[in-house]
Assembly symmetry: C3
Amino acid sequence: MQQHSYKISVKTNGRRLYDITPQVLTWARSSGFKTGLLTLYVQHTSASLLINENYDPDVLVDLESFFERLVPDGDPLFIHTAEGKDDMPAHIRTALTQTSLSIPIKQGKVALGQWQGIFLYEHRYQSHDRRILMHVIGE
Amino acid sequence: MQQHSYKISVKTNGRRLYDITPQVLTWARSSGFKTGLLTLYVQHTSASLLINENYDPDVLVDLESFFERLVPDGDPLFIHTAEGKDDMPAHIRTALTQTSLSIPIKQGKVALGQWQGIFLYEHRYQSHDRRILMHVIGE
Amino acid sequence: MQQHSYKISVKTNGRRLYDITPQVLTWARSSGFKTGLLTLYVQHTSASLLINENYDPDVLVDLESFFERLVPDGDPLFIHTAEGKDDMPAHIRTALTQTSLSIPIKQGKVALGQWQGIFLYEHRYQSHDRRILMHVIGE
């Protein structure tokens, strides 16, 4: 049994979903595990992780439309507004999605379903460097 | 340290929560681990995983009522509507719940709390074959 | 490769977020792992886990305000009301947040980001004893 870990950095340029599937699969393949468990972890509280459809880009548009309506920017409900009207909504969107994700590795492949992609969800308007840790254990 | 994995298939016949606790516990017991970590992973973007109360079935009714109101089918907000009015809501419900779940194994048992059950949440109206991967690592 | 597990108990006295970061870090450090994966699991269906900002306490106030508005207590939509008007909302808030969380351990430290804290989210009004399992695997 062995383990490996790696940190990837994603430069974001505004609020949207960023497909990180290629980077994750490339690293997982290079790590050489046949069977195991891959865990992704994002080290932020205003960006999150999500597995969703990566075929029709309209899905990503609709996800964003939904979250914008569900958690309105500049909502007078919020008192934590130091960094602007997208500050507190970013924390709430993070709470409603994922900070960690685990995916089995089978037959040397990350066992994503046919339509599944792995996304970093940037919830802030401004550009950020987002760090995602990948950890795999298995053999 | 060892690991095992297994794929279960759940035939769904409409939108609701399906209790998969018995299948998960049966497989976990047969795998013979005394201590370890069990991870469940659903390979879909319109069905998800959830741990919630499995005692009073009214909880499942209310969960569904809530999600139907929160993410209205046929909402004109959505542009990804190719597969019908439950298409995009299914992706959003998946984003709001879980694609992966990890539960420790202690003293040979999956360490669920007293009232916890493990559910597959089917978000589409039509019947589907849903695949859930189970992975356990430990000894 | 080794594993350890431990159960912590958190006495809650009402609905709010409880910062459990110190207890988690203390145990993780004492377990002596240099590299590995830490998993937290809450054995309840009306309390959940969340990673969010632990710097400005206003973030916690706003998270609670948001969830109170999103899932209204005493909503006539709900039929599972045996334990009061916060009963079913507690199950829904649990579904919308996390029951399990996994965080890599690197260089002997739980790899939280700079502003990340780990919280138990108590969703019931009354006092409860909440059990959280911690499991670490690695070396």
